[in-house]
C-alpha cells in the first residue's frame, strides 16, 4: 500500500481496501480511534490495521488487553461521549465473550434511553471457515447479530464494497457490526473511491440471469459466481445476488429477482437451522409464493461445529460442485 492517496486502484486486496478505508476516514475525522487486540504494534491479526500506528500514533491506534467484553463496552462508552471508535474483535467467535455488551448494551442503548443518544461505532470481526481454525475460530455468526434489533450488519464480498461500506458505516450514527471473511483478505479487485456503488441496505446483482437466483453474501458470493460460470456452459442462466448488508436487508431486490427467475437457492456459511438463509427463504415464500416453480433451497454449512481436518472442513460448508448439482436439479 505504497500510495495511499490514489482514487482508483486497478487491483487491491480486500485487506488493503479496509486499511485504506480506516486510513481515509481517520484523516478526515479526528474523533475516530481504533482499538482492539493487537491492532497497533502487530498491525491486526489479519493485517487490516498494519502501519496505522506509525501514521496516527498510540493515542488513536490502541492495543487493548484480551478483554473482549470491555473492548466492546469501552468502545460504546467512548461512542456515547464524543468519539467514533472502530473496535476489532479478532474473531467473530469471540462475540461469545462480549455478547452482553453487544446485544444488551450496544444494540439497545439508543432505544432504552428514548433516542437521547447514538452509539456511533463499528465492531469489526472476521468469520468463516477455510483455515482449519477449528470450531471456536471458524463460525459464521451473522444470525446472532441479525436477530438483534439495533445493530446494522455489513458483510462485504469485494474490496470496493469493503472500502465503501466501512466508510459509510462511519458516517451513519448507528452501531455497525462489520464481518469480514478470513479467506477474503487476500482476494483482490478494483477500488474506485469515487464510486461508492452502494448504500447500506442495497444488494448488488453480481450477474444477471433468468433461470435461477442464487442469493448470498460474503465469500459464498464467490462460490455462486463460479457455479454460475459452470452452469452457463450448461445453458442455465443464473442470477447472483450479493446482499452486502444483512441489516438493513434489501428485501425488494431478493423478491424482484426471484419473481423473475421463479427459482431460488440461498447460499451461506451459517448453519442450516434458524440461520440467515431461513429468513431469506421465508421472505421468498411470503412474496414469491405464486411464482415459484420449485421449493426454495437453503444451501448452508452443516448443523454441526466446524471440524479442523481440511477434508472435513471443505465439505462442512457448501461446495461449488454441489451448488451446480442442486441448481441443475432446480432447473430441470
Amino acid at each position: 500500500m505504497s500510495d495511499l492517496n490514489k482514487n482508483y486502484y486497478e487491483k487491491i486486496t480486500f485487506r488493503d481496501a479496509l486499511r485504506l478505508a480506516i486510513h481515509d476516514s481517520m484523516q478526515k475525522d479526528e474523533k475516530i480511534i481504533v482499538m482492539g487486540e493487537d491492532v497497533a504494534a502487530y498491525g491486526g491479526a489479519y493485517g487490516a490495521t498494519k502501519d496505522l500506528l506509525k501514521l496516527f500514533g498510540p493515542k488513536r491506534i490502541i492495543d487493548t488487553p484480551i478483554s473482549e467484553a470491555a473492548i466492546v463496552g469501552a468502545s460504546m462508552g467512548a461512542a456515547l461521549t464524543g468519539l467514533r471508535p472502530i473496535a476489532e474483535l479478532m474473531y467473530v467467535d469471540f462475540f461469545g465473550m462480549s455478547m452482553d455488551q453487544i446485544a444488551n448494551q450496544l444494540a439497545k442503548v439508543r432505544y432504552m434511553f428514548g433516542g437521547q443518544i447514538n452509539a456511533p461505532m463499528i465492531l469489526r470481526a472476521q468469520g468463516g471457515t477455510g483455515r482449519s481454525a477449528g470450531a471456536q475460530h471458524s463460525q459464521s455468526l451473522e444470525t446472532w447479530i441479525m436477530h438483534t434489533p439495533g445493530l446494522y450488519l455489513s458483510i462485504p464480498y469485494t474490496p470496493n464494497d469493503a472500502y465503501h461500506l466501512l466508510r459509510a458505516a462511519l458516517k451513519i450514527n448507528n452501531p455497525t457490526i462489520f464481518i469480514e471473511h478470513k479467506l477474503l483478505y487476500n482476494t483482490s479487485g478494483v477500488l474506485d473511491k469515487n464510486n461508492p456503488d452502494q448504500i447500506f441496505g442495497k444488494a448488488k446483482i453480481r450477474k444477471k440471469g433468468k433461470d435461477l437466483s442464487i442469493i448470498s453474501y460474503s465469500r459464498m458470493v464467490n462460490f455462486a459466481e463460479k457455479a454460475a460460470e459452470e452452469l452457463a456452459k450448461q445453458k442455465i442462466d443464473v442470477e447472483v445476488v450479493d446482499l452486502r448488508t444483512l441489516n438493513p436487508l434489501d428485501r425488494e431486490t431478493i423478491i424482484e429477482s426471484v419473481n423473475k427467475t421463479k427459482r431460488a437457492l440461498v447460499l451461506s456459511e451459517s448453519c442450516y437451522t434458524a440461520g440467515v438463509p431461513s429468513e431469506i427463504t421465508s421472505i421468498i415464500f411470503e412474496h414469491c409464493y405464486t411464482n415459484l416453480l420449485k421449493p426454495v433451497i437453503r444451501y448452508t454449512a452443516e448443523d454441526t461445529p466446524a471440524p479442523v481436518a481440511p477434508n472435513l472442513e471443505e465439505n462442512y460448508i457448501p461446495t461449488i460442485e454441489k451448488i451446480v448439482e442442486y441448481s441443475k436439479k432446480l432447473c430441470k
Binding site: 463496552g73 461512542a79 456515547l80
Partner: protein
C-alpha cells in the same frame, strides 16, 4: 452559616430527597401507576450516592446499576421526569421506554442505568478514554452493587482504567445482598478494596454513617481520578427492604432487619445536626415538609403525564435519519394483499 455548617444540611437534604422519592415510588406502585414491578428501591443506601454525587463536578459522567434512582437524584435528576419514566409515561426521561432500570440523561452526564449486573461498568472506561482524548476534565463514575463485584467485566474494566490511567472511579454500593443471596455466600474475599488495590487503583472503604467524612474522603479519590489516577470506593450499607417490590425477604430474619435499620444514615445526620446545633428540629421539619411536597408533585406529574403514541414502539431503534423498522402488521398485510 459557614461552609462547614452548610455541608451537612445539604447532604442531609439530598439523602432525605432520595428516601422520600423512593417512598413515593412505593406509593405509586400501590396505586397501580408504575410500569411493572421491576422497582428496586435504595432506601437505606442513601449515603454513598449522596456523598459521591456531591464530590463529583458538574461536567462529570456516570452509569448506575438497576438500583440507581438515588444516584441520579444526587446528580441533579428531576424527580418529575424520573417518576414519569418509572410510570412508563411520555414525559419520562426516556419517553417511558426505559423505565426504572434504564433511566438516563445525557445532559446531566447520566450515561445510563443498567439492568444487567455489571453491564454499565465498561461504559465509564470508554467515557474516561473520551475525556482524556478530548481533554474535557470529566471524571466518569460507575456505580454498581456488591453483586457486580463477582462479575468478570468489572475486572476487565478496572484493569483497562489502570493500564490507560483513565479519569474513572468504580463505586460499589455494598448493600450486603445480591437479590436474596447474602454477600457471605457470594464473595470469597469480602475486603473488596484489596481486589481493587491489586489493579493499582486508589481505594476507599466507607463503613460508617459519618457522611461528612465520607464526602471528604470520596472527594479525594475523585480528585485523584481527575489527575488520571483511577480509584475504587466501597460504601457499606444495608438494603432496608426487599430486592424488588414483590420480595418479602424470606432469606433474612426480621431481627436482622430491625437491627440493621438502626444504622440509618438519615437519622444519624439529623442527630448530628441537632447535637452540633447546626439546625434545630423546626428547621429540619421544614426541610422535610418541602421535600414531601416536591415528591408529591413528582408523583402527580407522573400520574397525569400522557401515555405514548403507539408509533413509539418503532422509533429510537436506529438513528433518526434511518428508516423505521417495518411493523409485523405491515409485513403481514403486504403478504395477504
Amino acid at each position: 452559616m459557614t461552609q462547614s455548617n452548610t455541608l451537612l444540611p445539604n447532604l442531609y437534604t439530598t439523602m432525605k430527597r432520595i428516601r422520600t422519592f423512593e417512598e413515593r415510588v412505593g406509593e405509586l406502585f400501590i396505586k397501580g401507576e408504575t410500569a411493572g414491578t421491576m422497582l428496586h428501591l435504595s432506601i437505606g443506601e442513601e449515603l454513598g450516592p449522596t456523598c459521591l454525587g456531591a464530590a463529583m463536578q458538574k461536567q462529570d459522567t456516570f452509569t448506575t446499576h438497576h438500583r440507581g434512582h438515588g444516584i441520579f437524584i444526587a446528580r441533579g435528576g428531576d424527580p418529575k421526569k424520573m417518576m414519569a419514566e418509572i410510570a412508563g409515561k411520555k414525559d419520562g426521561y426516556c419517553k417511558g421506554k426505559g423505565g426504572s432500570m434504564h433511566i438516563a440523561d445525557m445532559k446531566l452526564g447520566h450515561l445510563g442505568a443498567n439492568a444487567i449486573v455489571g453491564g454499565g461498568i465498561p461504559t465509564v472506561v470508554g467515557a474516561g478514554l473520551s475525556s482524556k482524548y478530548l481533554e474535557e476534565d470529566k471524571v466518569s463514575v460507575a456505580f454498581f452493587g456488591d453483586g457486580a463485584m463477582q462479575q468478570g467485566i468489572l475486572y476487565e474494566s478496572m484493569n483497562m482504567a489502570s493500564l490507560w490511567k483513565l479519569p474513572v472511579v468504580f463505586c460499589c454500593i455494598n448493600n450486603q445482598y445480591g437479590m436474596g443471596t447474602k454477600i457471605d455466600n457470594a464473595a470469597g474475599l469480602k475486603d473488596f478494596s484489596k481486589r481493587a488495590a491489586s489493579f493499582g487503583l486508589n481505594t476507599l472503604h466507607i463503613d460508617d454513617l459519618d457522611i461528612e467524612n465520607a464526602y471528604v474522603k470520596s472527594k479525594e479519590i475523585i480528585d485523584k481520578a481527575r489527575k488520571f489516577e483511577p480509584g475504587f470506593i466501597e460504601v457499606e450499607c444495608y438494603r432496608f427492604f426487599g430486592h424488588a417490590r414483590m420480595d418479602k425477604s424470606p432469606y433474612r430474619s426480621e431481627e436482622e432487619e430491625i437491627k440493621m435499620r438502626k444504622s440509618d444514615p438519615i437519622s444519624y445526620a439529623s442527630n448530628q445536626m441537632l447535637k452540633n446545633k447546626i439546625m434545630n428540629e423546626d428547621e429540619i421539619k421544614k426541610i422535610n415538609e418541602k421535600i414531601s411536597i416536591e415528591m408529591d408533585e413528582a408523583m402527580d406529574f407522573a400520574i397525569n403525564s400522557p401515555l405514548n403514541n403507539q408509533k413509539e414502539i418503532f422509533t429510537d431503534v436506529y438513528d433518526e435519519r434511518e428508516p423505521l423498522p417495518i411493523s409485523v402488521e405491515e409485513r403481514i398485510n403486504k403478504i395477504l394483499s
